[in-house]
Amino acid sequence: MAQAIILPKLGQQTEESTIVKWHKRVGEPVEKGDVLFEMETDKSVLETQSFFDGTLLKILIPEGQTVPVNTCVAYIGAPGEQVPDAPPPPLAAVEGQKSPAQPPRPAGASPDVAARVAVPAATRARADRRLETPEPQTSPAPAPLPAAPAPARRLFISPRARALAEARCIDPSRITGSGPGGRILERDVTAWLEANRYDEIRITPAAKQMAAKEKIDLLTVRGTGVGHRIMVHDIQRVLAARPRKMNKMRQTIARRLTESFTTTPHFYATTSVDMTDLLALRQELKSRGEPYKVTDFILEAVVLTLQEFPLLNSAAEGNTIRWRENVDLGLAVGLDDGLVVPAIRSAETLCLRELSQTAAALAEKARAGKLLPDEMSGSSFTVSNMGMLDVENFSAIINPGESGILAVASTLQTPVVRNGKIVVRSMMKITVSVDHRIVDGTVAAHFINSIKTKLEDIELWKSLT
């Protein structure tokens, strides 16, 4: 059998070597001890002798080529003996001594593909509970991050004093240290305990255990048990009053609304809409098997009006007004623990029925927490309807990236004057909040009255339904 000639690993640190010169030609006889080739390591050029007698059958690594040590570089055997064309892979190290080589990658499956395949799934997972409208991807200048809360003042306290404070279940941060640089020492803790009559504290073992676990300063807990003994429910009371971090959605809402309210000069215009006739039409449609929600009419009226007032469908960006091609109507949807605003894309292209269905579908999806990020971003104007929540009137905060938001209050039976007589009508207050940087009072007034007019124009709705 032909012998494989292996490029020797001659130094501990040598990982590869270059064959500088072959001393034998293919077909030439070789005796044990003959120099086969010269190899160059990073240290020196070395001659490599044959350990075998035979004929040099094949040279796999030509002169000048650098290969890892332990690579098969040639075969020696009996003349005419068959040898493999390709070298076997370098000898694997003994199991456990070296990590196995990377398995060859199957053809066609580039790592990029794998990565691309992996991305959407991951994004979906993250989007599952996406909140509010995320920043538009095209936002030219991302909103500055809110200032991190000021770090708590580093408490200088000796490990021994800290351990004592922990054992006594008290908060040492109120203690004044007497050590170098104001370091709190054991004696300061002891004095503090004494001054605060710590020894008089009575506490049940369960309460003590809970206080220690929750790191509650026993000196701050009012005991309600017999003889002011601190009970478990006293600890629970303290725990209930502890600050708790907002969840991610709440943090986003807070950040975005703060950003909007502090950087956008808001003003508001309110009007009352007489919904009596429209509600009657709605009843009639319902009895005909065509159910619509009040919201649907409002959304439609807003969509129609926005097309007349493109300024309300745009946004201020520095010294620029960003105009929009479409009405991407935002619909505020309240959730148990927050608020999201899905967008109805190109709402001007939808008929009332389509608008109604799209809004319903998005609201449903929002409540189920299944909105995709794309569905929550890029709205151009938002409607927030609290009609079902029994409010006479309210105003809303403009979503960042928009120039107005319409707040819709409850429809209430209200005495109003019609033709000199007091009559009872179903009145609904709507309030538009606008960005005064680009929308002036006149525009806002015309805008809201245009919505009102549409909602009160029963012929319009008959034509649309």
Binding site: Q3, A4, P8, L10, S44, L91
Partner: protein, 763 residues
């Protein structure tokens, strides 16, 4: 009455100092003559050939394994040195053939040949019981098969050691450069060039002392004969006191044969033509002994010539006519290691010329010519050797690696010599026992040390004691005055000013069964011996896979505080505490000095026993009754609750003063912990104190940079962090060199005031 008084006269008469002659290449026999003379049998001749083939096959295997060309180890990656001895087989095999199977050897980093040859020779001489111990699972019925199996096991365990396997001779802890098999008298190869020579010298001292008829064959290369400790060792081996009137009734030259495996290269430099001034390395012998150590130069490519010379030398040594030196002229075919291409420093023609006198080819031809065996049997022999090596290597490649969890297992032995074997327990006082001046049950620190030595030497004949001027004069500080008179010069003797050799011979003597105590007059001198202390004494238990113990006590004396300046005043225990494998202790009272020295002498680990000259005169209660203070136990010298002073050595006394001051002036209750033992460290006693007090100053006489006080402070911070009310503080000498000026030295060394200040800064 003194033991011996020198009584020489000045003598300046003109004369010529005759350096005598050294014979070279005087071997005139050959195989046929040896056979005819009956100085060699045919089977012995075959064994010589087989062993040389075994060595060469083994070495070639290493080269092949590195090249993936050894099928038996296909896929095995050998990580380790490749110092092969191909070409030098006659030196190894001939040398071993010249000594008895139970004689000792020491070897070198290129010592695979010595090691294999030693094992083969020993195995062939074993009886059936001994062989069965080598191959306990053998089913063999006859001795011949047992020998063959034991030889294969020998090759296997040697390869396994190279491969770093648990089955190796040293459990994979030593590797090829530190391989040893103490069961056959192989006291270890040594990766420190020349490092094994003082060990061989010490082993010869042991053999001489025990009169066990063994000799030591000390293999070392030509490169080693430029090394200081080797020259110290040659001088030591030739000391007159071994053979002149000082030897009393037993004049006996040190039984050691120095075999220089002279391959002419120290790594890559040419020794005889480049870094030495003599062409004949054998001339080294002329400097140490008026008889030139009977040195001769031998053809190292002729196994019979080497065997003949070593045999004559060994026999002379056995008669008490040692030491001997043989310069074996041989050649290393390969480079220093496989990464050395040789072409940077020698010609191919030189190599070819040496290969033409190849020891194996030459001897194989002689064996055929003498018809010891025929060509067929020769071929069968070659095949047997190759097959055996292949089987052993395949097994070695596959056998278990050591468990990573055992990485520092075997660093120390937990054994203590609790009982003295009967043969060593009978000790007679040669002349008179030393006097110990007790008053009120008190002894001085130095008398406490002497009493410990006296008691232990009386208890165990294996305890010997030597150092510079320790015998007649009783040591520079009179610590050991009277021990010579009590035990005689066989057990208490002066040494040349050769600190490395003092410390190294102790290792060799310990390896062959003695329990040496040596004294270094100043601890500063330990730095001259640091290889022997740190690389040899400390490491052999671990490197041998726990197959040898080194029960040596290095008594070292700190001179700080006496105005002796930078080279006689250092407190260096931290340096040695950094060396794994060594125990380091430093008693502060006479009571501890005695109790701990006795424990140190009975312990089977090498112990650096630090003494302070400042304390030699201090007195304290020392019971006459037998007692021991265990190593590795700290002592609370003074109880307290407000602050811990963790100290050792002379600082213990400063700490006690500081504690009194702090208590009086600062109303602080101070605890003083005497560490006593740095290695092993009783951290629990220290931690318990710190947990109680919450404040700690760690102090010693050493300078702070790299001081062991830092190690203790770090352990406290890590393990008692929650108990600390202040950062751990350290006090040491100023971070500089000890000055001579009394004023400066007073400023240099730490004292009670420094401790008080440090304590106040954290109160």
């Amino acid at each position: 009455m003194p033991n011996y008084l020198s009584d020489s006269r000045p003598e300046f008469k003109p004369r010529t100092v005759d350096c005598g002659q050294i014979r070279a290449y005087v071997y005139r026999k050959n195989l046929q003559i040896e056979l005819k003379d009956g100085t060699l049998t045919k089977p012995e001749a075959v064994n010589l050939l087989e062993d040389m083939l075994t060595v060469r096959e083994f070495e070639e295997m290493i080269v092949k394994v590195r090249s993936g060309a050894y099928p038996a180890c296909a896929g095995f990656e050998y990580r380790g040195p490749t110092h092969v001895s191909i070409g030098q087989e006659a030196a190894s095999v001939g040398g071993i053939a010249g000594i008895a199977p139970d004689d000792y050897i020491t070897s070198t980093h290129r010592g695979h040949g010595d090691s294999i040859a030693k094992g083969c020779a020993a195995i062939r001489a074993m009886n059936v019981e001994q062989l069965r111990l080598r191959v306990p699972h053998s089913q063999a019925k006859d001795r011949k098969t047992l020998v063959e199996e034991a030889l294969e096991e020998h090759v296997y365990r040697t390869i396994a050691e190279l491969f770093g396997k648990e089955d190796g001779y040293c459990k994979g802890r030593g590797g090829g450069m530190h391989i040893a098999d103490f069961t056959v008298g192989h006291l270890g190869a040594n990766a420190i060039v020349g490092g094994g020579v003082p060990i061989a010298t010490g082993a010869a001292m042991g053999a001489r002392y025990l009169r066990n008829q063994r000799i030591v064959c000390c293999f070392a290369g030509d490169g080693a004969y430029a090394n200081g400790v080797v020259l110290e060792s040659l001088n030591w081996a030739c000391m007159s006191q071994f053979t002149n009137h000082l030897a009393g009734k037993v004049p006996f030259g040190l039984p050691i044969v120095h075999v220089i495996e002279n391959n002419h290269y120290g790594m890559t430099h040419r020794t005889d033509d480049e870094v030495m001034g003599t062409r004949w390395l054998a001339r080294r012998a002329a400097g140490f002994d008026d008889n030139n150590m009977h040195a001769e130069v031998v053809n190292g490519m002729d196994v019979l010539a080497v065997r003949d010379a070593v045999r004559r030398a060994a026999e002379a040594c056995r008669q008490g006519n040692g030491p001997r030196l043989i310069d074996v002229n041989t050649y290393r075919y390969y480079g220093h290691s496989l990464s050395d291409p040789r072409n940077e420093y020698r010609t191919r023609e030189e190599e070819t010329a040496w290969k033409e006198v190849d020891p194996i080819d030459t001897f194989a031809r002689a064996v055929l010519a003498a018809k010891v065996i025929g060509p067929k049997r020769l071929e069968a022999l070659r095949q047997k050797v190759a097959d055996r090596n292949a089987r052993a290597a395949a097994r070695a490649a596959k056998t278990a690696d050591p468990d990573p969890a055992d990485v520092i297992k075997y660093m120390y032995t937990d054994t203590v010599e609790t009982a003295v074997p009967a043969e060593f327990s009978h000790v007679e006082i040669v002349k008179e026992a030393p006097e110990f001046k007790r008053s009120d049950g008190q002894l001085t620190y130095k008398d406490a040390i002497k009493e410990a030595m006296f008691e232990e030497m009386l208890r165990d004949r294996r305890v010997i004691f030597y150092g510079e001027d320790v015998a007649d004069y009783g040591g520079a500080f009179k610590v050991t005055k009277g021990l010579l008179e009590a035990f005689g010069r066989q057990r208490v003797f002066n040494t040349p000013i050769s600190e490395a050799c003092i410390c190294g011979t102790a290792v060799g003597a310990a390896m062959v069964g003695l329990r040496p105590v040596i004294e270094l007059m100043y601890m500063d001198f330990a730095l001259m011996a640091s290889d022997q202390i740190s690389n040899q004494a400390a490491k052999w238990h671990y490197m041998s896979g726990a197959n040898v113990r080194i029960p040596v006590v290095y008594r070292v004396s700190v001179g700080g505080g006496k105005g002796y300046g930078g080279q006689h005043s250092q407190t260096l225990e931290s340096v040695f505490a950094h060396i794994p494998g060594l125990y380091v202790v430093y008693p502060s009272t006479p009571y501890d000095a005695k109790g701990m020295l006795k424990s140190a002498i009975r312990d089977n680990n090498p112990v650096m026993f630090v003494e302070s000259q400042l304390l030699y005169g201090s007195k304290g209660p020392v019971p006459k009754e037998e007692y021991l203070v265990p190593l590795g136990s700290a002592e609370v010298k003074r109880q307290g609750t407000g602050l811990s002073l963790v100290v050792w050595g002379p600082m213990v006394h400063e700490a006690l003063k500081a504690a009194a001051t702090l208590e009086a002036e600062d109303q602080v209750s101070v605890e003083v912990v005497d560490v006593r033992s740095l290695v092993p460290l009783d951290i629990e006693t220290i931690l318990a104190s710190v947990r109680k007090t919450g404040r700690c100053v760690v102090a010693s006489h050493s300078i702070n940079i790299g001081s062991y006080t830092g190690e203790i402070a770090a352990r406290i911070s890590a393990e008692a962090f929650d108990y600390l009310d202040a950062p751990v503080s350290r006090v040491g000498a100023k971070d500089g060199i000890a000055p001579q000026s009394h004023i400066l030295e007073a400023a240099f060394l730490p004292n009670a005031k420094d401790l008080v200040n440090a304590a106040r800064s954290i109160l």
